[in-house]
């Protein structure tokens, strides 16, 4: 491909102390694409996102954003560059209201009108949050909290939206709702990198996928191919 990828990992390595969590991961996300990163617990999915957000340092390889090296960028600058990260475990400010959490997502923005129209957009996307906007985030159900986390990430208007297991711990009906929202966002042009253990749900809506195992990529391909892959079906889809 001769176009510059929006995001490109080249032989990325990450260590936690002496433990190697990523042993050379290469992947790319093109503008407008919906890519999913699959793998079982402990495979290194969250570490990959944390390395992209600069929450953990890369110990080898390169992370390129719009062709430029991300190595020197501190974590608080990544959103400014267009990388939004809806982290593992949601990390809401539980003692603050839903509205405060969403407004915090737009912390870097100064366009009051844009922010308020994006707030309306988020409440339209997740109507049950609208009724709860004055409630403490910690008092919401798990599914609602996940919606706040996604909406908060959207409020930063990221060029790339990275989500870490948004379906974790949700009832099947809510999983479908969340995946539906991601699919709709993608149709509106949002570039998405989705980390999931729920391979089936992710592959049904993604363009392409990568499968990570013990810090290494095992498989990659179009979502359609991966859904039909024998190896993947046996390992992750329980069939």
């Amino acid at each position: 491909m001769n176009t510059i990828a929006l995001l490109e990992l080249d032989q990325l390595q990450v260590h936690y102390g002496s433990v190697q969590a990523l042993a050379g991961v290469s992947l790319r996300v093109n503008r407008g694409e919906f890519v999913c990163l699959l793998g079982s617990n402990g495979a290194g999915k969250s570490t990959t996102l944390r390395a992209i957000s600069r929450l953990v340092p890369a110990t080898g390889g390169e992370i390129r954003w719009r062709g430029g090296d991300l190595a020197k960028v501190p974590a608080h600058r990544t959103l400014r560059l267009g990388i939004g990260h809806c982290p593992e475990g949601r990390r809401l400010l539980n003692r603050q209201t839903v509205a405060f959490n969403l407004e915090l997502g737009a912390y870097l923005r100064r366009d009051r009108l844009g922010i308020s129209s994006d707030l309306d957009r988020c409440y339209a996307l997740f109507p049950r949050l609208a009724e709860r906007r004055r409630q403490q985030a910690g008092s919401l159900s798990g599914g609602e909290q996940q919606m706040v986390a996604i909406a908060r990430a959207l409020m930063g208007r990221p060029e790339l939206l990275m989500l870490d297991e948004p379906s974790l711990g949700l009832a099947p009906k809510l999983v479908a709702e969340v995946m539906g929202v991601l699919e709709a966002l993608h149709k509106q042009g949002q570039t998405i990198l989705l980390v999931e253990q729920n391979a089936q749900a992710a592959l049904e809506i993604a363009d392409r996928g990568y499968v990570l195992e013990a810090g290494r990529l095992q498989l990659e391909g179009s979502a359609k191919d991966l859904l039909g892959d024998e190896q993947l079906r046996a390992a992750y889809l329980g069939q």
């Binding site: 959103l79 400014r80 003692r95 915090l104 912390y107 870097l108």
Partner: protein, 313 residues
């Protein structure tokens, strides 16, 4: 209300205001880092001495430069403001040497209790080398309060003007800080860092800068308290801030760790409780302060307005 009672209440509120300043200083740092800065008392001393020097006060015979004084003699208000800023800058330095290296290395935050205590001891000893161990009274007639009578009659009660000034300045500072934390964008960022620094960074907040801002502000609060007490009582030696630091710590726990309204309420309660003790029995004041603390904690382990203690998830 009898004039005597009013007098007691106003005096209590005045010292309570200073306790609230100190406790708020602890609160700011506790909420963003989850630790106590034990150098706070030393910064309180520093604020007092800086105010004294900026007003043109002379170093005494036991100091490093006996008889020396700054070539300026600022009015109290200005000296107090500059001293607060000075204490804030030194607080930044304390963060640099006693907190930042530990955080960089991922050390147990509890270790900073020792490093900050050490920084405080160094600071107090530097003051002692420079100024000697003797006490200092602010320049005669509290030059700054020129034009105001020594005492005011309020509702029949005779109140020292200094006490009123003390109350107004500390109340003003506390109110300004509270409103700012509640309303401003930076206050919003500070609350975010306090609750989840990682989430805050992902929202584009520079958590390191927010931590430094918390140190600057808390040093300024301590410095302000030191200057105010210097004016209303005197500087009773380089260690005088330490006892206020301890009292502030008691107030912090009394009000509820990390709670801004708790620090204010705790400060006032402590000041009022002390003021109720007649000055003939003033030796009992500290004992009472800690007895109040003890009683409150038995009844409400999380403090007056603290959140109920719970596991962080």
């Amino acid at each position: 209300m009898s004039a005597a009672l009013l007098q007691i209440l106003l005096n209590g509120a005045a010292s309570g205001g200073v306790y609230a300043l100190v406790a708020l200083g602890y609160t700011l740092i506790f909420s963003v880092l989850g630790v106590i800065n034990f150098a706070q008392g030393a910064l309180f001393s520093l604020g007092g001495y800086l105010t004294f020097l900026l007003m043109g006060g002379r170093i005494g015979v036991n100091g490093a430069l006996p008889g020396w004084h700054l070539p300026v003699a600022l009015p109290f208000w200005m000296a107090l403001l500059l001293a607060a800023i000075g204490a804030g800058v030194v607080a930044l330095l304390v963060e640099r040497v006693a907190f930042a290296p530990l955080r960089r290395r991922g050390a147990d935050p509890l270790l900073s209790l020792i490093t900050s205590l050490g920084a405080g001891v160094v600071l107090v000893n530097l003051l002692q080398i420079l100024m000697g161990a003797e006490g200092y009274a602010f320049p005669a007639g509290a030059a700054a309060l020129e034009g105001l009578p020594e005492a005011l009659l309020i509702g029949g009660a005779r109140i020292r003007t200094v006490q009123v000034v003390l109350l107004l300045i500390s109340a003003g500072a506390v109110a300004a800080l509270t409103v700012w934390l509640e309303r401003s964008r930076t206050g919003q960022a500070m609350r975010a860092v306090a609750e989840d620094p990682t989430a805050a960074r992902l929202m584009g907040i520079h958590s390191g800068a927010i931590v430094r801002l918390a140190f600057l502000l808390s040093g300024m609060l301590a410095g302000l308290g030191g200057g105010l007490i210097g004016l209303s009582v005197s500087l009773a030696g380089p260690y005088f801030g330490i006892s206020f630091g301890l009292k502030g710590l008691a107030v912090l726990v009394l009000g509820g760790l990390g709670s801004v309204p708790g620090a204010i309420a705790g400060g006032l309660l402590m000041g009022l409780a002390e003021a109720l003790i007649p000055s003939a029995a003033s030796g009992w004041r500290d004992a009472l302060a800690f007895a109040v603390l003890f009683a409150v904690l038995v009844l409400r382990p999380s403090g007056l307005l603290g959140r109920r203690l719970q596991e962080k998830v």
